[in-house]
Amino acid sequence: MTKTTGFVGRRDFLRAGATFLTASSAALPAALAATRASAAPEFPDNMLYPGVEDEAYGRPSPHEAEVARKIFPQNEKSTLTASFTPLHNQKGIITPSGLHFGAHHSGVPDIDPETHELFIHGMTDRPLKFTTRDLMRYPLSGGINFLECGGNSAPQGYYPEAQPMPLQYLHGLVSGSEWIGVPVKLLLQEAGLNPKAKWVIAEGADAGSLARSIPLQKLMDDAIIALYQNGERLRPAQGYPMRLFLPGWEGNTSIKWLRRLEVTDRPAYTREESRHYSETLADGSIEGFSMYMGVKSVITHPSAGQVLPEKGYYQVNGLAWSGFGKISRIEVSDDGGKNWIPADIEGPVLSKSLTRFTLPWRWDGNPVRLQSRAFDEWDNVQPTHETWKSRYFEGSRNHYNAIQTWFIDAQGAISNVF
């Protein structure tokens, strides 16, 4: 079989690896000789002087200051903000809490956990309220899950032409964390559900009282009132002191600064679920309450905004996720989708979680179209850009989950293309 892609097959790769070894061991004696030639060994300052004392709450190295979210700021007429996760810097399925994406319609409130209360009322036997301290005493559970904004990747859906944006702006409204909290069903059971109850209006304690109607089914399934993220209490921007967390569902439904759960038998059609987080279908009709985030993947390295310095070996790195369950397979193509090579899945494969994939790859210096496509355990597969576009009306921008194409030109510059 003639080799049609640059992906280094298992056997090919070993051989290529052996070549590397030979090359480097040939180079070794010269390097050693150079070291030995100098007189006394020279040590860097950090090996000569003791370092500073550790901090009570550690921070990243000052040399990593560029690893930061990009903030889409408020303006004098709008309080809406978005903070984009630097996915190109992330290796692994956990996003550090300070780099987790955010989309806040009314800013980030400062809430005192001692005075904040959670109210559960409506179609319940008893209307109940809980303090933050109360909730800390309940059985906690949760897991490692992705959270993705319904508007992640919106420029891909919205603009007719592919925008010259880096990965961070294109797909940075998704992150992964370990979320731990109180199963919502325990609290609903304590309040006692009216048999006719079917929906719950969840409302936040932000200036805009952001609210969504949530099907009771989800709240009785894997929903939690998250108190902890990545081992510590939630950050203010993630809903401190408590947020609703709905694994696999569009981010906006995981109401931050959760204040109220109003049990009812029908949805309220709040602002967020009327137009903002609904889609316009190809026939011009509007579809709302699209709760699940579809199966999706993106190559984070190499990706738009980066440059390949030279031809040769690169490890393709990426992330895949599905709101329906586990990722079952990820494939990568470097010829625009003609040949697909299975990627290696690295680390845990968890339900509704970021899943890391890699693939050894040799870039031969010619322009290529690099893509990944993910499948989940229910056989959902990521659509092509064209297929995705054909389902929606021009300009509909939410729930974009199509295959991302990175174009690498002969100079190694990487850009976003359709």
Binding site: L128, K185, A191, R266, A268, R271, G288
Partner: protein
């Protein structure tokens, strides 16, 4: 699609399992919400009008509120400014681009306008409008879309009856999938 069906079955099973479980293994710390606290708790308004407070307002009164407190951002005729992320409140039909929907033609229920303005508008000083002002400005938004005449008005009983065009073309993906099992 069959995969989604399977998944919904699993959720249904989960629901059964959950309702079979008891809350015995919890500290049961919920305090009953006192009646007086319960009264003012919910700001939710449903399409059938549940949650709307007594009162009403006219298009003419709403024009005053709108010009005073809203038009600086949403524009004289509710045209919005997408470059500043300010939604278009009023339109004259379906747009030719999915990003240019107006509130009037994309929201299925007028009651949602009341609810949202009451809790979230204006964005830098929300929750300051009186009930009468909220009814009035809601009436004015409906008027700008051509759904109410210049001498029109809305009230607790009439707002849920305003028929928004999107009722004919707005659907719920959740309900569509849920109805499959």
């Amino acid at each position: 699609m069959s995969s989604k069906k399977q998944m919904l079955h699993l959720i249904a099973l989960g629901l059964l399992a959950a309702s079979g479980a008891t809350a015995e293994d919890t500290p049961a710390l919920g305090q009953t919400i006192p009646t007086e606290e319960l009264a003012g708790l919910s700001t939710t308004v449903y399409p059938d009008g549940e949650g709307l407070p007594p009162g009403g307002g006219t298009v003419r009164q709403g024009k005053v509120v709108y010009e005073d407190q809203c038009s600086v951002c949403h524009g004289e005729n509710g045209e919005g400014d997408m470059s500043m992320y300010i939604p278009i409140l009023a339109g004259n039909g379906k747009p030719d681009h999915g990003f240019h929907w107006s509130t009037g033609y994309s929201w299925p229920y007028a009651t949602s306008i009341f609810e949202y303005v009451r809790t979230a508008m204006p964005p830098f000083n929300p929750k300051e409008l009186s009930t009468a002002e909220i009814y009035a400005v809601t009436a004015y938004i409906l008027h700008m879309n051509g759904f109410l005449p210049e001498d029109g008005e809305v009230s607790q009983s009439t707002l849920p009856k305003v028929k928004m065009p999107a009722q004919d073309y707005f659907s719920s993906k959740w309900e569509k999938e849920e109805s499959q099992h």
